[in-house]
């Protein structure tokens, strides 16, 4: 791989800064620093990984849609908001547990994604990329305001009746929140992480092992070619968009136990999801998970090293760095 001269200089610069910092922090100081910040560092790692898994799941839907349809879906966050409201209503009205609600939100949002693709995206399939992008941006604004009318701006949240103290999960009885070496792990975040990773694996297997997955990948690689061998790319586009939206359906149900929902909550995930997709490589499923974990960690480590700034500082630093050094993303295909 050829690295341009410019990039080599940037890399060298970063290495130099890291080295200087390491030298500046000699042994004693390092120990002292760890004494003070060790527990925060550990917590940052734990939270970063847990929340990163969920970020990854959201980004996966985005990256899947991009990989196959070449569309940057700006309504992704807004669709997450819809998913969260559906979960909220299921819990509030019908008492359905949010983890059970995954079984409802996923098919519902799959359906919604299909409808959106058919009615809004498909007719504009031949329009220039920026038109399609603006289309999804408009859709996002529409959804946000629709949610505002239906649910008002009052934030809604749910409270699980379990998850505190000794909780029985199958044969295990675990005392929540789990405390290890000063760090705190709550049931809600642990569950979100485990489900998110599980769903990522399912989606990955679906793409790798099934005929449908092969057809999706074929369409992503070469639409013409896929059509030539008899794949209905229109149908694949429909299914892929549905799958991508279904991902946020799952994520929505998983985050509601620890995050309140209002019409704009999706924005919080939108920005990170885009950064993750670029970081992981546009169209790469494992890249989305990897990117999610890295961004989760970056965000939380920001609290350790720069507490007076907001968490997004580190995220955008990484974003810019990736654009400069590896525009195709960590696991992206080379151009």
């Amino acid at each position: 791989m050829k690295i341009s001269r410019n990039r080599r200089w940037i890399l060298a610069g970063i290495a130099a800064v890291v080295l200087i910092v390491l030298i500046a922090l000699n042994g004693d100081q390092f120990d002292q620093w760890m004494d003070q910040n060790g527990v925060v560092l550990r917590q940052a790692f734990v939270t970063g990984i847990l929340i990163g898994g969920v970020f990854g799941l959201v980004a996966m839907g985005l990256t899947l849609i991009f990989g196959v349809l070449d569309i940057i879906n700006f309504a992704h966050g807004a669709l997450l908001t819809i998913g969260m409201y559906i979960t909220f209503v299921l819990f509030d009205r019908f008492g359905i547990d949010p983890y059970l609600a995954v079984l409802i939100t996923v098919p519902l949002l799959f359906l919604l994604g299909g409808i959106i693709q058919r009615t809004i995206i498909y007719p504009a399939r031949n329009a220039p990329a920026h038109n399609q992008l603006l289309l999804t941006l408009g859709l996002a604004l529409f959804i946000e305001n629709l949610m505002l009318v239906v649910f008002t701006a009052t934030p809604r949240s749910i409270r699980l009746s379990y998850g505190r103290g000794l909780t029985e999960i199958g044969p295990l009885a675990i005392d929540f929140p789990i405390r290890i070496a000063g760090t705190t792990i709550t049931l809600t975040k642990l569950a979100a992480f485990i489900f998110a990773v599980f769903l990522t694996a399912v989606l990955y297997l679906l793409l790798q092992r099934t005929t449908l997955g092969k057809a999706i990948r074929a369409t992503a690689q070469n639409k013409e070619g896929a059509r030539l061998v008899g794949i209905s790319t229109d149908r694949i586009s429909l299914i892929t968009f549905g799958l991508g939206v279904a991902c946020v359906g799952a994520a929505a149900a998983l985050v509601l136990p620890f995050l309140s929902v209002d019409p704009l909550v999706g924005n919080a995930f939108n920005i990170t999801a885009f950064v993750i997709v670029v970081l992981g490589g546009m169209g790469s499923i494992p890249g989305a998970l990897l990117g999610g974990l890295i961004i989760g960690l970056t965000q939380e480590l920001g609290v350790v090293f720069a507490p007076s700034s907001t968490k997004l500082l580190g995220v955008f630093f990484v974003f810019i760095l990736v654009l400069l050094l590896r525009p195709q993303g960590l696991l992206g295909k080379k151009e």
Binding site: A44, A129, T184, T186, N267, F274, M282
Partner: protein
């Protein structure tokens, strides 16, 4: 692939744009533009000097600008409704100037300063003789500049930044305590509460929303006053209120600093998140103390957080809970709009009455006359927890404006400090997850 490159570039631009727009622009101080050559459509209806008995051409238009859409719409819509309610009440009681009715012109700032500014221009163009606005400091500074330029009085219901009235505006008046008052009184009340219980608060950590300017201005005032009171601020931790999804790491960090108290300034969602995460981490402090915190004095906090809400303090603007008249207003609001009236809405409601009082005293609906009357305001019949009548000082601040400390006790938000406004004894130290 060239196409990919283009998309990527486009994406990068849009992401940064969206990120920038997601947050409120910092208050931009608009240079007062030179007046447009033709005077903006004067409110044509009233010959100002005519005796009030004379039939007037139309109603007295009052403009209101609040965020009716966007992340702060929950408050904005209530404030808009509250002004409408006040106007309906006033009209039912015979209007002003011997029978002229008020009419309300409501506008949506969408939470953006530039939109608020254009809306202010529009309302004035449509004949508004006084404005009530804005809930956000950034929007308010722009609207205040317009009010000054066009000579139309503005009564700020809610907007905290000191800077709004530091511009030497003569047409702008503010009902709520400003950031300095919030921070300074907040710090003093915290010290007094501790002393009252024979405790000491010698160190705190300050957690604040760091992107809209509101959290930062209150924090700055607190930190300055804390130094005078001998309270050490161990660290100031900022977060982005509309993007934050978790504060566990922040709470762990705060725990490792071992402060006596955690002080929090922010909006509702992030405040709730902070409370939940503090409990999960088992934050080891004597109290969690909000200052101008949009969560810990809201009944919704108790509904959302349950037992966890107990003990939380908030030093904030409020209605006077010890005044039965305030309760009546809140009851009729609830009946009309089906929601519990928020403090922000109470202030918007109050602002309308203060304007009506000024118009009555001015004997005219001429904006300049209303301004002069507003400057002379001495309004005793209010429902705010202020020790005396509402009067405005030279800069336009309410002289008696002061926050009041509230605490969640047995699922109720009660006023606990200062003592003359207290409904109940403060519990101190107190956290809901303590043993």
């Amino acid at each position: 692939m060239i196409k990919n490159r283009k998309l990527l570039a486009l994406l990068a631009i849009v992401v940064l744009l969206v990120a920038a727009c997601a947050e409120d622009p910092t208050p931009t101080v608009e240079p007062v533009e030179e007046p447009t050559e033709e005077p903006v459509e004067e409110p044509t209806e009233e010959p100002a000097e005519e005796p009030p008995e004379e039939e007037m051409a139309g109603p007295i238009n009052i403009g209101g600008i609040h965020p009716l859409t966007g992340g702060l719409a929950a408050d904005g819509i209530q404030m808009d409704n509250a002004i409408q309610m006040a106007i309906d009440e006033l009209n039912a009681a015979g209007g002003a100037l011997g029978g002229v009715e008020f009419a309300y012109l409501g506008a949506d700032s969408t939470g953006a300063a530039e939109v608020g500014q254009t809306e202010a221009e529009r309302l004035i163009g449509e004949g508004a003789v006084a404005l009530i606005c804005c809930f956000q400091s950034a929007v308010t500074s722009n609207v205040a500049a317009i009010a000054e330029r066009d000579g139309v009085p503005l009564v700020i219901d809610v907007a905290v930044a000191d800077a709004i009235l530091d511009q030497g505006h003569t047409y702008t008046f503010r009902l709520q305590p400003n950031a300095t008052s919030m921070g300074v009184n907040g710090a003093q009340f915290l010290a007094e509460l501790a002393e009252n219980s024979g405790e000491e608060i010698s160190s705190v950590v300050y957690l604040y929303e760091g992107t809209t300017g509101f959290g930062d201005s209150v924090r700055a005032a607190f930190v300055e006053e804390a130094a005078n009171l001998g309270i050490e601020v161990l660290e100031e931790i900022g977060y982005a209120p509309f993007e934050v999804t978790d504060l566990t790491t922040e709470m762990t960090r705060i725990n490792s600093l071992e402060p006596d108290a955690l002080v929090v300034t922010g909006y509702y969602n992030d405040g709730l998140l902070a409370a939940r995460n503090a409990e999960e981490v088992g934050l080891d402090v004597k109290v969690v103390y909000g200052i101008a915190q949009g969560t810990y004095d809201q009944p919704q906090f108790v509904a959302d957080a349950g037992d966890l809400a107990e003990c939380f303090y908030d030093s904030n603007y409020h209605w006077d809970a010890s005044d039965p008249a305030a309760q009546e207003v809140r009851d009729s609001f609830q009946e009309l709009y089906g929601e519990e009236m928020r403090t922000s809405a109470v202030l918007a409601y109050q602002a309308m009455y203060v304007i009506a009082d000024a118009i009555e005293r001015a004997g005219s609906a001429d904006p300049a006359a209303i301004r002069d009357a507003l400057a002379e305001t001495n309004y005793a019949d209010h429902i705010l927890p202020y020790s005396g009548s509402i009067t405005f000082d030279d800069t336009g601040e309410t002289e008696v404006a002061s926050p009041v400390v509230m605490q969640v006790q047995d699922g109720q938000i009660v006023q606990v400090w200062p003592t003359d406004l207290a409904e109940s004894e403060p519990l101190f130290p107190c956290v809901s997850w303590g043993e």
